[in-house]
Symmetry: C2
Amino acid sequence: MLGNAPPCPPERLEAHLRERGILPTRQRLRIARVLFAKPQHLSAEQVLALVNREAPPVSKATVYNTLGLFARKGLIREVIVDPSKVFYDPNTRPHHHFYNVDTGTLTDVDPEAVSLGRLPSPPEGTVTEGVDVIIRIRNG
Amino acid sequence: MLGNAPPCPPERLEAHLRERGILPTRQRLRIARVLFAKPQHLSAEQVLALVNREAPPVSKATVYNTLGLFARKGLIREVIVDPSKVFYDPNTRPHHHFYNVDTGTLTDVDPEAVSLGRLPSPPEGTVTEGVDVIIRIRNG
DNA sequence: GTCAGTGCAAACCCTTTGCAGAAAG
DNA sequence: CTTTCTGCAAAGGGTTTGCACTGAC
């Protein structure tokens, strides 16, 4: 297995949010705790369920707003592989994904295992923001 | 410019559908004609609008069903880059995309310009179905 | 005549928004 | 005290579904 260390230890979460200019409220910290517990890929729905395993419940709107905020501020990365939902990845370093279309599961690709040769330069007047490589797999 | 030849000439469309086991009905042919007119990336909504520039109108449900059918049968490729809509690409050969997050526009990457080095082997019990490389760009 | 395809409208589901109340600084 | 965040419920928007009608073979 690779990368099983939590992307951000619980005791650093508050500082981590502040560094990015995010006010660390109760709800945001609880959401961050779930996201950064370990390397994983959660949908908004899953985050909502995990956060609300303990009372008091956090509302759906707050979870969606917070995930959007974290992504905009660069704390987490949105992974778009399924038209029906977005996944959130606490690992913001460049890396790629396997997407199992049968199970709907997202897995990190060992960065060592890919050599993503030369990239094309973006069209005139645009700049590259990021590169997503998604390897679609199915149960063989 | 690259790849401006229609992916499938109009007169071959009917045969093309039959080869894939798709009954070429009036509506399906009209949808295919729009998709295969030239290399492009259309959303379901755009296909609907283009098809219905001439009467009689094709219903929304038929467009969605047909696009799903074509994709399942391998005539076109679904490109998932935006959580809010799916794009359909008549070019089913392996190739990659620029996605302009400002304009929501999808562009083909010149295949010559990318060298997609070594790919990792898929996890045990799975087979690779395809690889999507999406280069997210924004207006610089 | 039988089976598949089509059209319409309603249902679905993830996500976003509006607004009043609560909490942070 | 001011500004920001939260919660609720309702709205939004792309996509899917149910079912009766039509058309293909």
